[in-house]
Amino acid sequence: MRADRSGVAGFFEDLPVLMFVLSGVVALVLTSVFVSERMTADRMDEQLDVVAKRIVDSVASEMLFSCGPDVLPTVASICAFNYSDMVSQLSDGRSFALSVFSLHPSFGCMFNISCGESSAPQSTGYASELLNALGDNGLIVVLEVRVVVW
């Protein structure tokens, strides 16, 4: 065994160099991981928004034609239809929640359908559309169809 003093000195002299290099590499790696994960999440949100919009468009047109073409749908005919199967097909197996609210002249939830995992989603897509319908009291009400996909 022999004491390599210059070796030990060299090691300690190189420590600041090592620290700067490692810090730089770690900063680069962490930033790259963060940015790539964020971009992936944004892309996923965009895809889910497209799916939600597709579902809302289909559900709204189904509602509008529930009493026939060129006839204002009634709230009763809208609520009577079963949308679960239709939305399940359009959502491509993804979890979804469909809600229909009355916004005018009074606010209230007409119905709510949901399907899928109840755990906190990583990404969500959202779309909504307004439509008119004939209420029970003869008033033309405004309904809002809201869809969340995850």
Partner: protein, 177 residues
């Protein structure tokens, strides 16, 4: 150095300098990447939660929702089941004939309340009626800067009860400054 003697190790200093330059470059690249990554994506730019065209269409087709009594020289009753578009036709005709906007105040308040319900808390609204010379005849709701990035509009050609054309425009704005 461990022997207690000071010596000028220029090569060591150069290596440290190189490392600092590398570290600075890495931080610079990281900053550029972060600014790019944190930039709002195109699709997530400020956009309204309502489509203004859809909103205007359903608004005009909806019923007023409450009986309203107007004093237009003679007592006029607007029934709750009358459509907002039809009531707007009556009002615009009255304004063209020189009636004051004040006479339609309860009706305009009902329009504003209906729009508020449709827009929700996150959107401000302004309904503007323009005549054929683009003169403002009626304005309901808050002032919205037309050049604002977060303002969105939709318009519809209408015809009043006497067949005069006018334009109704709805401007909505997200409450983000």
């Amino acid at each position: 150095m461990l022997s207690g003697k000071l010596r000028a190790d220029r090569q060591g200093q150069l290596a440290t300098l190189d490392a600092i330059v590398f570290f600075s470059a890495a931080i610079l690249v990281s900053s550029v990447l972060l600014s790019y990554g944190l930039e709002t994506p195109q699709s997530a730019e400020i956009r309204p939660t309502r489509d203004p065209a859809n909103l205007l269409e359903v608004f005009l087709r909806a019923s007023v929702g409450a009986d309203i009594i107007l004093d237009l020289g003679e007592r006029t009753v607007i029934r709750s089941n009358e459509q907002i578009g039809e009531c707007l036709n009556i009002e615009v005709r009255g304004l063209f004939e020189g009636l004051p906007v004040k006479a339609f105040l309860p009706l305009n308040q009902q329009f504003s309340d209906a729009l508020e319900r449709l827009c929700g808390l996150s959107l401000q609204h302004r309904l503007v009626v323009l005549d054929q010379t683009s003169e403002e005849v009626l304005a309901i709701g808050m002032d919205i800067d037309g050049d604002a990035k977060n303002a969105f509009a939709s318009s519809m050609d209408m015809r009043d009860v006497d067949g005069t054309d006018y334009l109704v425009m709805l401007v909505i704005s997200t409450c983000v400054s």
